[in-house]
């Protein structure tokens, strides 16, 4: 794939479970790529249409009507562009039909199984279960589990190259005995990717060759010290296109329309975040909180990770957020008294009528409280998976590791995080942008200096697949049109006493109309302060923490930063990490209300 194909006009679609969204990207006279028009139509994979291309054409037609550019000739996309007719390329992503659902299996839970999980997640899949030889389940339980799941494909790994074959062959025997059936389509064989010890290939072929559609690819863990996920991820995406997508009506036609393979939506979002982090040389995190799932992406020191919390979301899965977080954790964010029975019923009613929206401020506060918990839990799961390689330098062979439990350090270091990007309805469409900003700060609790932004109209998937053909175009549109910069959060690491001085801040905000009066303040521990800015503003910031606190340069050491503006502004958060919220209802309500009022959340 050429990564900087010369393009002037691009049409891109994302076929979601419910809606298909089309965007038009054009290179202007200055040579800049900008997103210009957007169209949307219901996705048409179910009755009575049974053809995804119908929804694509409807969405593209809306773009035609809005832009005045003729893009379609009948039911064909006109390529290349000539004057005001046609486009230079059509690209697409998809999560229709629930996306890609996989089962992964590896010899050792904390090593090859975890690597397999990272491979699958990085390819854009939802991982239904992770089986390992040492996961504590008995053979018949593993077999029953494999049989009861209906994955789209299985990724099997295990053993470093040349090492033991026993465990991975045993896993392949369990898979064969379970005789798993794919989720979609009754008549085709389940795709299984073997990405383990090359020495075991023949045995695995012998066990699984007839019963499944078996593919072989490079070992994802060729040595203990090295993880090689790219070949497996590529294979997953290839098979996703060939097998899973084939079962969804109209995809065989859609495949012939696109220049590059259709990517699973979360795979494309992840690729975009990786691209941006690489281009700018920064550490980045992204979160997409949807109705059923929450995806978290991170790039720390060039290492990319993605997790999908498959049962944390704001509508279909909202009751699961309550189940996993617990009522107490949800209530701690609600600044008014509410009967627990009433809250439980409201959440269940949203679960069974997921398309409704909050009408009153109290309902909005409850939803945003739940969103904080969903984000927090998803982030926690992400930190657990985004870890350094386990078993390195201490273990000589896979078999030796069975009785060992080593834990890798998380790669997620909030002090070194440069930007946090939020996406999904509850963040992108909050009535006030500062609500999005505080939800993300409360859930992720960044430290040091962190930029925050939201995705304005959910075009990250489109830009992700665009990045695979033209990185410059993707990055430009991402920065200029996709992201709504919210501002910057400065938060120190360290503990202190409520009310005692935590840091001194000096702020000079420059606006296009002139400089604002400079601000200098001592800020005590336990507060949150907002200094409003606009998108076009810039600021010079000097923060000097007291000796117990660190804002990135060490305890007591000042930082000087030039920061870009945002639609919310500069936030100084001295509430402490982790946030301490009183259990007592009265104290909690008073404190939360104080924070929300200081931030201008609902008043």
């Amino acid at each position: 794939m050429a990564e900087n194909k010369d393009l002037n006009i691009v049409i891109a679609t994302d076929c979601g479970s419910t809606t298909t969204k089309a965007i038009l990207i054009e290179k202007n006279e200055k040579g800049e790529y900008r997103q210009t028009f957007r169209g949307e139509a219901p996705t048409t994979v179910e009755e009575p249409y049974n053809d995804v291309t119908r929804g694509v054409l409807n969405a593209v037609q809306e773009v035609e009507e809005l832009s005045g550019r003729k893009i379609l000739e009948g039911e064909k996309i006109i390529i290349p562009a000539r004057g005001n007719v046609g486009v230079d390329i059509y690209i697409s992503t998809s999560s229709a039909g629930g996306g890609l659902q996989m089962l992964v299996a590896g010899a050792v839970k904390a090593m090859t199984a975890e690597s397999a999980q990272r491979a699958a997640l990085g390819a854009g899949a939802i991982v239904m279960d992770v089986l390992a030889s040492n996961d504590g389940r008995l053979p018949h339980q593993k077999i029953a589990r494999i049989r009861s799941l209906r994955p789209d494909m299985i990724l099997l790994s295990g053993g470093t190259d040349g090492g033991t074959v026993t465990h991975v062959v045993e896993l392949s025997e369990f898979i064969a005995a379970a005789n798993p059936r794919p989720r979609l389509g009754h008549s085709y064989s389940l795709p299984v990717i073997y990405a383990g010890n090359i020495k075991a290939r023949d045995e695995v072929k012998e066990v699984l060759g007839e019963k499944t559609d078996l593919s072989l690819t490079d070992n994802i863990r060729p040595t203990l010290e090295r993880e090689n996920l790219f070949p497996a991820r590529q294979k997953i995406q290839e098979l996703f296109m060939e097998h899973v997508m084939q079962q969804a009506p109209g995809y065989d036609k859609l495949k012939t329309w696109v220049e590059v393979p259709i990517m699973p939506t979360p795979g494309a979002v992840g690729y975009l975040i990786q691209t941006v982090a690489e281009e700018e040389g920064i550490n980045a995190m992204g979160v997409d909180i949807g109705g059923a799932t929450t995806d978290v992406f991170s790039v720390f020191d060039t290492v990319f990770n993605r997790t999908v919390s498959a049962n944390l979301g704001m509508s279909y899965s909202i009751s699961n957020v309550l189940a996993e977080a617990g009522l107490g954790n949800v209530l701690r964010w609600v600044p008014f008294d509410i009967d627990e029975e009433d809250l439980g019923n409201r959440i269940k009613n949203k679960m069974i009528r997921p398309t409704t929206i909050p009408h009153t401020k109290n309902e909005l506060m409850i939803e945003q409280a739940l969103a904080r918990e969903a984000l927090r839990l998803a982030f926690f799961q992400h930190k657990q998976l985004a870890v350094g390689l386990k078993g390195v330098q201490r273990i000589r062979s896979i078999s030796d590791t069975f009785s060992q439990s080593s834990s890798g350090e998380t790669l997620v270091d909030m002090m070194s995080l440069d930007i946090l990007i939020g996406s999904g309805g509850v963040l992108s469409h909050a009535p006030r942008r500062r609500q999005s900003m505080l939800m993300m700060i409360d859930a992720f609790q960044p430290t040091g200096v962190t930029r925050l932004a939201v995705d304005s109209i959910f075009m990250m998937p489109h830009l992700g697949v665009l990045a695979s053909v033209n990185r410059k175009a993707a990055k430009e549109v991402f920065e200029k049109d996709c992201l709504i910069p919210l501002g910057v959060c400065i938060s120190p690491r360290g503990k202190g006493k409520q009310g005692l001085k935590c840091l001194n801040v000096k702020l000079k905000i420059k606006t296009p109309e002139g400089d604002k009066p400079p601000v200098e303040e001592d800020i005590p521990f336990g507060e949150i302060r907002l200094y409003p800015m606009n998108r076009e503003d810039e600021a010079e910031l000097e923060v000097t923490p007291t000796r117990r606190f660190d804002v990135g340069a060490g305890n007591g050491k000042p930082i000087h930063k030039s920061v870009r503006g945002g639609v919310v502004g500069v936030v100084i958060d001295t509430r402490g990490r982790p946030l301490q919220i009183p259990q007592n209802l009265e104290q909690r309500s008073a404190l939360i209300r104080k924070w929300y009022d200081a931030f201008g959340m609902y008043n």
Partner: protein, 379 residues
């Protein structure tokens, strides 16, 4: 522009419903088109692969995996009885009492013998599963080896949420009004085996008594989330239900909390008091929504002139349409649409959304409601 409203739950006095009855894996279908069936009749059956257990032969006989074929007394595909020897080593020094014998832990067949892992997999005999007709009706179509479509002329009512699987029984009114409450003392002994119709709510104790008594189904307007947790033993995270191991199916028609059954639903069920019905608590709230249902089949004579109900044409919502509000602060209240302003309107949350104004039936008050927060009622 997509229609932004929630179609209402179906409450239809007279229609034709076709239920697709399908085996999970191919088997034998026992009916043919035109056959008249009852809900409990078995229309198809199959055998599904049963559990597999692995036996680590090499460890138990202290041999290597490569030697396993030398010790096996059975080969792949052979049937075995419980405790039957399947492998043995050579007796040490020819002394039989020093010989190790491995026996099958249960009746089954040899699935696999692995000379890599040294394990033997034994599978239990296949499990027979049967498929019932689920509703009284007529077999319309048969898919060879997989199942059949059963057609029935009936009254058809959808609920909003349910737990428990399919059940059949006689409808029994247990409340005299749609807002009645059922508690433990309201569950009568003669409700055993029946499908009881409550009012706005049943308590956990009431439902527990229904389960203990052997009531087949409970249909109420509302149920508390906390009580659902008590019934299930866990907090339900996602609305995908139907496989719960409970003896009584629960169908909630309006929502969580105390909610009077919609008058038309109550009246329709009351008109069928004493009649046979089939219900299912199966609920799936995701792409391809499935709702719990109550089907009251007609007799052959009643079915004669029944036509399939055709839903109101998909023209979207219009002024004058009857709606129910499905979110706070007007949850459960009925009304008719007064106006549908095209522009985005700011609501209490400060969000800009498409709204409608609705005249409430109970108070006559006209209120503003987001369009996403109503469901259409088909009269």
């Amino acid at each position: 522009m997509a229609h932004v409203f929630t179609p209402g739950l179906q409450v239809i006095a007279s229609t034709i419903v076709t239920k697709e009855r399908t085996l999970p894996i191919p088997g034998k279908v026992r009916v043919k088109p035109g056959d008249r069936v009852k809900a409990e009749d078995v229309i198809a059956e199959t055998a599904i692969p049963n559990d597999v257990q692995s036996i680590n032969v090499v460890n138990r006989l202290s041999i290597t995996a490569k030697e396993i074929r030398n010790v096996m007394l059975k080969k792949v595909g052979d049937p075995v009885e419980e405790h039957e020897p399947i492998a043995q080593n050579k007796p040490f020094l020819g002394l039989k009492f020093l010989q190790s014998i491995i026996r099958a832990p249960f009746k089954g067949s040899i699935e696999r013998i692995s000379d890599v892992t040294g394990q033997v997999l034994i599978r239990k005999p296949p499990r027979r599963i049967t498929l019932t007709a689920y509703v009284d009706g007529v077999v319309k179509d048969v898919t060879e080896g997989l199942g059949a479509d059963i057609e029935t002329a009936c009254s058809f009512i959808q609920g909003i949420f349910g737990i428990g699987g399919e059940a059949f029984g006689e409808i029994q009114m247990a409340c005299s009004s749609p807002d009645g409450n059922l508690d433990e003392e309201d569950i009568m002994d003669d409700y055993k085996g029946k499908l009881i119709i409550g009012g706005s709510h049943i308590t956990y104790k009431g439902f527990r008594k229904a389960m203990e008594l052997g009531v087949k189904g409970v249909i109420v307007g509302g149920f508390n989330a906390s009580e659902l947790k008590e019934v299930l033993g866990y907090e339900l995270g996602v609305a995908i239900t139907g496989d719960e191991d409970i003896p009584t199916t629960l169908i909630v028609t309006e929502g969580f909390g105390k909610m009077a059954i919609a008058q038309r639903t109550f009246d329709l069920l009351k008109s069928h008091n004493g009649r046979r019905a089939s219900i299912s608590g199966y609920t799936q709230i995701r792409a391809g929504v499935m709702r719990p249902e109550i089907i009251v089949p007609f007799t052959e004579q009643e079915a004669r002139d029944v036509k399939k109900h055709v839903p109101k044409a998909e023209t979207g919502i219009q002024k004058g349409d009857e709606v129910r509000i499905i979110r706070e602060p007007y949850f459960g209240r009925l009304g008719s649409i007064v106006d549908l302003p095209p522009d985005l309107t700011k609501i209490d949350t400060e969000a800009y959304v498409r709204i409608m104004t609705v005249k409430l039936s109970d108070s006559g008050e006209t209120v503003t409601v987001p369009r996403a927060n109503v469901e259409l009622i088909e009269v």
